[in-house]
Amino acid sequence: MFATLLDRLRALLLAILLAAAFALPALAEPFEDAVAKFANDDFSDTDEAIGAVATSGNPLAFPIISALQDGRLSADPDTKKVFVTGADGKIIDAATGEAVDKLPDNAAAVRLNNRLRRAVEAALGGLTLLSPDPAKRIAAAQSVFRSHDESALATIDGALAKETNKAVKTAFTEARAAILLYKADAAEVEKLESVAIVKARGDQEAMALLTGLGSDLPPNVARAVTSAMASIQSNLAMWSMVQNAWYGLSLGSVLLLAAIGLAITFGVMGVINMAHGEMVMLGAYTTFVVQEVIRSRYPGLFDYSLLIAVPLAFLVAGAVGVAIERGIIRFLYGRPLETLLATWGLSLVLQQAVRTMFGPTNREVGNPAWMSGAFELGQITITYNRLWILCFTLAVFVILLAMLRYTALGLEMRAVTQNRRMAASMGIATSRVDALTFGLGSGIAGIAGVALSQIDNVSPNLGQSYIIDSFMVVVFGGVGNLWGTLVGAFTLGIANKFLEPVAGAVLGKIAILVLIILFIQKRPRGLFALKGRAVEA
């Protein structure tokens, strides 16, 4: 409560100051010249204009620079007039602040390149250090930390004295330390203090800041910097282990998701289904169609598009699966070679069918807001899409396990796969159960497609890239055992991610394949071999 009151007071103070600045006519001339440079459509002129406007102290500086960042600053190349379109759609003349009815016809947005975008960010950093919004102040402090621009020191000192928010205070202190470290005439004591502050921050950016310092430092400071770097380094090395483990879990979850449907069709039923990848692809295309409909009819529902797509993908892929089982596979039971060839041919047919219907190019499947971005946990970055996929995979696994364990269909499935004749004599319609089991496996592959559409291309080739990995996981985990698939997927994922930094992505993958071959030589039935009668059946 008190803090918000202070913020308001600060905003009021700022407004008064700005109004005072606006009243000074002496500033107007060079400012107008600087603004006019935006209209030249030349990157170096724009760069100069950003510098001049940002340091002018003119109240229009902030709206101009932030409009530039958002592409709302436009210029008329003929009259050299520059306009700011406010976030609310109001247009003002950037040089004078007067309201304008509409943009001239030939006005075009002022263009930026990466160098200028950095300049804009740095300028905004200086301008928003006093913003009433604490999140903006932190962001501004971060960008000062990165740019360690000496001109911001006075502002930071002033802001630091008044700051009450703890997080913002830390950010300001760090930014101040960064500036002092790079300031040639800063006292040695101050520099040593700064090193300690940066060391305490301990992340990759702190490391970057210290590495960039160069060698012309007083010996005491240089020693402190070296020891700080060593300590940050060892801290980061520990975190990189954690990071590898997380990446491994995440890769494992993708493998598991792709393989879990195959664990049913191949693992439980024993059908070598080369078209499994195409079921995944069908799921991904279902997501695409759902998103298209939502985009054109109900844009408000976009964030729920994946939730809607999941059951639909299950139904689509499941129905195709049942059709395949009824139309092709049931004639081929007990003939693995023919099944392999027939389903492989089928996979080509499905790919080409999708290619003809949707075109050969990738289709755009967007990430809903809750699937985008990342958060920091200690020193590692965890991206939301990977986190959600991990949760989703585990949920699918648990549901599937429960289904096999506790439902009548699950019981029938297990009975049929363990002893078909006995099950038939007990009155189970085995061919119906076969079709449903295959449909279930395919449907789950379809669900996997929904999740994979978030991290991979939605193209007709989507399935191909997962089919080998899926078979690898199922065979490695032990055919016919869902728990084996789970353990197999995570083992392979984690092993892959720990090998990758050492051996590189290509060699890492080869090494994994070799390891699996050796493992299968030793234990032909995989990690968790089924025992008993089912093996003989």
């Binding site: 050969p360 190019t361 990738n362």
Partner: protein, 439 residues
Amino acid sequence: MLTKLTRDIATLSRRRWLAATAGLVLGLAAFSNAKAADDTIKVGVLHSLSGTMAISETTLKDTILFLIDEQNKKGGVLGKKLEAVVVDPASNWPLFAEKARELITKDKVSVVFGCWTSVSRKSVLPVFKELNSILFYPVQYEGEESERNVFYTGAAPNQQAIPAVDYLMKDEKVKRWVLAGTDYVYPRTTNKILEAYLKSKGVKQEDIMINYTPFGHSDWQTIVADIKKFGSAGKKTAVVSTINGDANVPFYKELGNQGIKATDIPVVAFSVGEEELAGIDTKPLLGHLAAWNYFQSIKTPENDKFIKAWQAYTKNPKRVTNDPMEAHVIGFEMWVKAVEKVKSTDADKVIDALPGIEAKNLTGGTSKMLPNHHITKPVFIGEIKANGQFDVVWKTPGLVAGDAWSKELEGSKDLIGDWVGKKCGNYNTKTNKCGGQGS
């Protein structure tokens, strides 16, 4: 019911019936082909319409069909209509050679426009040499080649990779380089050239990180984290990406999700164009760069006209254009001009006539076929915009001549391709002999 059907199909009589039908169809097809042969000039189109590469190559097939259609509206070539013969090599490299042979011997095409990957080009080379025909190859590639029967209308490394690195060095002040690529011949050769070039500019070994990934790599977490780490050494870092089409989307998504923005670590890509961007959400790619010889967003009267005609032809007002399409446009016009110049479609005559032929490119310049069978092109650096198009932020002052042999590599710096004076694709200027090192 179905069991019975399968059994029926398996019986001999049914098989014989099938064979007969197939024979009849083939016979009819051959007959209609033979009939058409006299009054048209045939143009072969050798682009994959199925399999992995269909994603990129299908558009090029449409481009050639469109160009032939336009040319026929103008009255064809030498008073004859052009007729396209389209085959599908299905992204299968040996099949490329078979289909090329079929086009040249069976369909008797006068010229072939085709191939995308370097391996497909390498696999058809012996066929074009043996049967003495002409191939126009429209894609940027690794160079180190100059063949009598092939005309390279895409960019050589000095027309794409090296100007891009120059731009980053001068304008973005990049000091540290990540060379990331898919593991096959084009990225490996290009990165070898770039590494030699960077070192010649004084970049130290520890400031270069080279990384290869398998085709279709989709789990970029570790590599992006590595790039982030490599980029936080206090020096400005950029990624030069020769990552192949499909793997790019997950790569950029991971960059975006891990919070690496183009202002921190820009990525300049050589295989990402308008066509690739059309299928993805471009928000995380904003500000990243691509180097090409053509962008759809370039405003010239030629380009506006071409885009309009193309979109009308494909009946799709949103259909994008891209760099390899422009290469086909230039190559096609050059071939037509050469044929009209010698008044014949005879391969030897056309091959000799092509060097020196000029054709307008779509970005306002005039490209010329050089004696080494490469062409002159302008180089543009574009930044990805939110609408999936590129904003040109830099271009070379004039047109750049394509080098068949890289000047940066030990093995090839003395070699030139010259099919006019020396009649040789790998002439060694040091020893003055044809057949130097290299190929």
